[in-house]
């Protein structure tokens, strides 16, 4: 008995449910928690696809670092209340409708694509392993890798500059 489809369906429903809860939660803190839940589901998908490296990175970077950063900011601003003013009901409806239409259009466009017979390799293959990816990363993709370190540096500087209080403002 092949258990893979069941795992896939379970993870998919989990991811969608968590995403919906994230969007609909009034409290930002709950949103963050539901998003982390979504990320875990997606990491589960990665493992199912035998992409262990990405699964682990996803959990560490996204669910761990980034979402904690979000949570931190929310806590800092004391926004953990259901204080968010609601948008105009019509605007909400239109937004949801527009999103629904986009989904509908894309699904309708892609359902007849030639991909129908294609399969994604599940639970096998070695390309998702850190050994293979690392070799690629440090050979063919070494330049983008190094440039990404520069990106981090500039992001760090930018965040520091934006985040610090304005000195001139203080002086005056």
């Amino acid at each position: 008995m092949n258990v893979t489809p069941y795992i896939f369906w379970f993870l998919s429903v989990w991811a969608l449910f968590s995403a919906l809860m994230m969007v609909t939660s009034r409290n930002p803190v709950y949103s963050v928690l539901w998003l982390i839940s979504t990320f875990f589901a997606i990491s589960g998908h990665y493992i199912l696809l035998n992409a262990q490296f990405l699964a682990v990175v996803n959990i560490i970077v996204y669910a761990g670092a980034i979402m904690v950063l979000f949570l931190f900011v929310i806590m800092l601003m004391n926004l953990n209340k259901e204080t968010e003013p609601q948008k105009n009901r019509w605007l909400k409806l239109v937004g949801a409708l527009a999103g629904g239409c986009l989904l509908l259009v894309l699904v309708a466009a892609l359902k007849d694509a030639e991909l129908k017979s294609q399969q994604a390799m599940v639970g096998a293959g070695s390309i998702g392993l850190i050994k293979v990816l690392g070799k690629e990363l440090f050979t063919r993709y070494v330049v983008p890798f190094e440039i990404s370190s520069l990106l981090f540096l500039s992001a760090m500087v930018g965040a520091a500059v934006i985040g610090k209080k304005e000195i001139t403002h203080q002086n005056s």
Binding site: M22, V23, A51, I66, G99, G100, I127
Partner: protein
């Protein structure tokens, strides 16, 4: 698994993120929705990478690594983007004491 399933799952997640962007007013939640959309794309990239791998396995044992490395780079960029974006939100909060994008209507002027 058929690639279609991954495709539609990704589309669903992406659209949920998009609807969140369109319907919420809290800048932080909108930001999180954008992260969700990025993740939806990541999932699809990994799925396609595996599809590609399965298809061309006979030719090259390491085919399909590109897609996964793209995901890696997207995560890198997302991390940088979040750090800068949250800094901007913090500054905005400091200035107008709100993270409601309804007040960010300076584009009109």
């Amino acid at each position: 698994m058929p690639i279609n399933y991954y495709l539609f799952l990704s589309l669903a997640l992406f659209t949920i993120g998009m609807v969140g962007v369109l319907t919420r007013r809290n800048a932080i939640i909108i930001f999180m929705c954008i992260e969700l959309m990025l993740n939806a794309v990541n999932l699809l990239l990994v799925a396609f990478s595996k599809m590609h791998h399965l298809k061309n396995l006979a030719l090259n044992a390491s085919v399909g690594t590109d897609g996964q490395l793209f995901v890696f780079f997207i995560m890198v960029v997302a991390a940088a983007e979040v750090s800068v974006g949250l800094a901007i939100i913090v500054m905005m909060y400091r200035n107008i004491h709100s993270v409601d994008i309804q007040f960010l209507n300076r584009l009109k002027h």
